[in-house]
């Protein structure tokens, strides 16, 4: 298993990258910054599984919580409204703050 780099409460930024293939990081969340809500465990990398490879070593998976109005500039609702997305570690960088 790959080393777990982030802990709950850490601020992380989703990579803004557009590789081809079976990517489980939604387009809308790429480039956004959020906070790790929990570490879900480690799972075979779906991008590799889709290519008939083992997906190993398993990648840590996080639930990252984003503030809706950070994700959608025209969001209609308060700052308490949030969006939780599962994101694999190799899509995350440490964010400032």
């Amino acid at each position: 298993m790959v080393e777990v780099k982030f802990r709950p409460g850490d601020r992380v930024k989703v990579m803004k990258a557009y590789p081809l293939g079976h990517i489980r990081t939604p387009y809308y969340i790429r480039g956004c910054t959020g906070v790790v809500e929990r570490v879900c465990g480690a799972f075979p990398n779906p991008e590799e599984l889709a290519q008939m490879r083992s997906g190993l070593p398993a990648q840590p998976l996080y639930r990252v919580r984003f503030v809706q109005s950070d994700v959608w500039p025209d969001y209609r609702g308060g700052r308490d409204d949030t969006l939780d997305v599962e994101i694999f570690q190799h899509w995350l960088d440490k964010a400032a703050g």
Binding site: R24, P26, D81, T82, L83, E86
Partner: protein, 197 residues
Amino acid sequence: MSELGKYTPLTYFQLMEVSLRELLVEKGVVSDTDVDAVAADMKSRGPERGAKVVARAWTDPAFKRRLLADGTAACVELGLDVPALRLVVVENTPEVHNVIVCTLCSCYPRMLLGLPPDWYKSSNYRKRVVREPRAVLAEFGTRIPDEVAIRVHDSTADMRYMVLPMRPAGTEGWNEERLAGIVSRDAMVGVALAQAT
């Protein structure tokens, strides 16, 4: 030529499913009986399984704590098999309302709710509930007051989510079976509230 009007060709995906299934059967990877058994099993699972979990959580605070800590283990405790996937149960409170979606495809807690409804798989729901959840919920007749935060959960990977609705007023003293009867599929997805009926 008039009969042609009644002929409905298979869609692209239906044709792909039939071709793949027939090929797997022909190669001896699976049998028709296996396929039928899996389909029957999927159809036999319905939201009453999830409702049973909710009713237990409403009546047993210790079970509720375990359910929120580890959804999969708590379901196994009730004799429900939750194959392979990790279940995360999210609790509605007077401060927070949860709603579930899979924007990438149609990941859904099938082991507890059965097959997903068509609207859950529609691109309309998937695109809109992540960016305008209050408007989408209102279309389901569910109006969430502004002071209640909305938390959307996008099931993008290996977790599956179920909402633990709030137990409605007027259900004091009800037993688990009666409580389970008012827990709808939609309440466990988060597009509706549980209501005493």
